[in-house]
Homo-oligomer: 390 residues x 2
């Protein structure tokens, strides 16, 4: 195979973005040959935009059966990601799914099993893994620069969303339509980076979700979560869609120092001696270990979605390792599911997650939902301006 | 009365500091006429240091009965603050107590009642209330600059303390000796400023204390606490004595903007329009309110302990309002007690606090303590170098 022929399932906001990148010629070895969407208005948009160069289908099955494609990008609503992926794997496709991997861990686990059985390449659009800043953080943690991780604080409250945003689609911010709010829609990248950069998953979590905070929606849009790890480390994750202006400040503290990422800049406070070793030999009550404040140089801009598409293409064509294997989508989703479940049960949630319990509790919210969208809300029929989203 | 004659109860670390300030001539209208301490070595230190100018007593009762003093500074171990204060009020003294007000809210409430009945001036050494930075924060919040408070995040993990510190006194970091760890010894100022600057006490709290984290002690030295307020606001308070280097970053977010205090500097992000008003009129899904980043000018250094002593002196002599009325010591202590109790009960703690329940649970820890100090530990017999403490 010299070229990987892509088909996009769903050409709404994210799908149209992928289409634009794939048709721009920026991705070496990749060609967009088909798209599909259930909405006629979106198919019209695609025909108008791409003309005859790209085949347009009403559904994924006919697109895959056409023989025009080798790989699919799944960019449908969240709930459908696993279903679409499983069907594509069954037909021998390579699959790149949009985030989140799904809405509840149980369905994502089934998708991962289908991927493994297929032997095909499976990726997820965790484009922030392409950001050199987070790659650097991961590399520094994995290489031991800050020693053993002791504390992670992420204040990521800059996901400002207006009521107009929530009112712009019937499915938005509903249990039935999205299966959650800020955790499912805005935070998947953060929840992925939290565990990917540190290489650690908590052993238990206690979270406090607030639903419809300063907004007329039924799902959570304000969350404070606390996590504990096997090694005694703790973490706090705080997010919101109504803080203005919000904050994006990630602090990781370890036995050899501390890293803070804020304003797209990394600062490293490096201990010259491990804290435990200093503490063991020190005899002065008010002493503290020598510490150097270091500005870590910027590693340049992130290739974002184009980076993910290139990496996925290279993985299929050249065997390049995936930066964001699809199977890893379950990790961030598990953190999100655990936060919901802890709030619903008003107690601790142990990890590994009781996925069946989470699904049952989610289904209760869907079944008992009485939330009515304003009459002005409509299913989106054209790509919105997503400047400022990811 | 032209001069307020002070007597200091307990001339250990903090008491000797007050003695040095009072004898320096820096406090207008104040004179140190007596001190008392149960330790002979400390009395010897005082005689050597001050000669015949200052009377030295073995206990507070004889010092007060001498007729040499009008006011006492209570600088004994934490548990004794309320007892000493109540005795002093009974004998007509004005009383300035060191922080914390006490160890458990119930005993502090009794002290407050004694103070009210006496009609005497009652202050607490919350010297960080004299810091222009926190005074500015309070003034900005109270005057409505950030609108309604929605979120408070304080990462105050720079209370680094070594094992050598903990081993330096038999009473340190024990349930029986101090009644707590970082919350009782290091954080009282932060717990006071948290509620004083915002003017808000939570309605319920959930806290996660870790005991003897990276240190051989029995009390908490690593805490993450979550709080909820009547108006829907939330807060997170994180502290530690083994993070190196720690962080001191206070963020208060409101409906009209956000203030961050870090590195002794205040930054204000000011919305030109209240968030709720913007959200109500806005029709663009991805819009956000206009925001100005403003560097708030520094207001100069803090007079710290000298400021508190001057203010207390002025309150007695001139009727100047107290910056830190003693009655308010119960507020920060309640936050601390609630964090302990939430951890012990592994659940929510509602405020106002069930003070009797907290006292009972604390007494359980004292009764069941099996912690043994290293044989090198001793009761401190001379003032330690407290550079870096407050």
């Amino acid at each position: 195979m010299k070229q990987l022929r892509y088909g996009i399932i769903g050409i709404g906001n994210m799908g149209s973005g992928h289409a634009n990148i794939l048709t721009s010629g920026a991705i070496k070895g990749a060609v967009l040959t088909a798209v599909c969407d259930g909405f006629e208005s979106k198919r019209d948009w695609a025909r108008e935009k791409f003309g005859d160069k790209i085949a347009v289908f009403e559904n994924a099955e006919s697109m895959i059966d056409s023989g025009l494609i080798d790989a699919v990008v799944v960019a449908t609503p969240h709930y459908d990601h696993p279903t679409e992926a499983i069907e594509a794997f069954a037909k021998g496709m390579h699959v790149l799914i949009e985030k989140p991997a799904g809405v509840y861990a149980k369905q994502v686990r089934e998708m991962n099993e289908a991927a493994a059985a297929s032997g095909k390449t499976f990726g997820i659009v965790y484009n922030q893994r392409m950001n050199p800043l987070y790659q650097k953080l991961r590399e520094m943690i994995q290489s031991g620069e800050i020693g053993e991780v002791r504390r992670i604080n992420w204040i990521i409250t800059n996901w400002y969303r207006t009521q107009a945003y929530y009112d712009s689609g019937t499915w938005r911010a509903t249990w039935g339509g999205e299966g959650g709010g800020v955790l499912i829609n805005q935070c998947p990248h953060n929840l992925d980076l939290w565990q990917w950069t540190t290489g650690m998953m908590p052993i238990r979590m206690r979270a406090f979700c607030q639903f419809g905070k300063n907004r007329n929606i039924e799902v959570e849009n304000d969350v404070t979560a606390y996590a504990e790890y096997e090694n005694g480390a703790t973490a706090v994750f705080i997010t919101s869609t109504s803080d203005a202006p919000g904050t994006n400040r990630l602090e990781v503290s370890g036995s050899r120092g501390k890293i803070v990422i804020e304003n797209d800049k990394m600062t490293f406070w490096r201990l010259r001696e491990e804290e435990a070793a200093f503490n063991a030999r020190n005899t002065e009550p008010f002493a503290s270990p020598e510490c150097w404040k270091i500005d870590i140089p910027s590693s340049g801009p992130s290739p974002e979605h184009a980076g993910i598409l290139q990496n996925f293409t290279d993985a299929v064509l050249l065997g390049t390792p995936l930066v964001a294997p699809g199977e890893e989508g379950i990790k961030g989703l598990t953190l999100s599911n655990a936060m919901h479940l802890s709030t619903w049960l008003d107690g601790w949630v142990d990890l590994p997650l009781d996925e069946a319990l989470h699904e049952a509790e989610l289904n209760k919210r869907i079944a008992s939902s009485t939330y009515q969208k304003p009459s002005t809300a409509a299913a989106e029929t054209k790509p919105a301006d997503l400047t400022g989203t990811f």
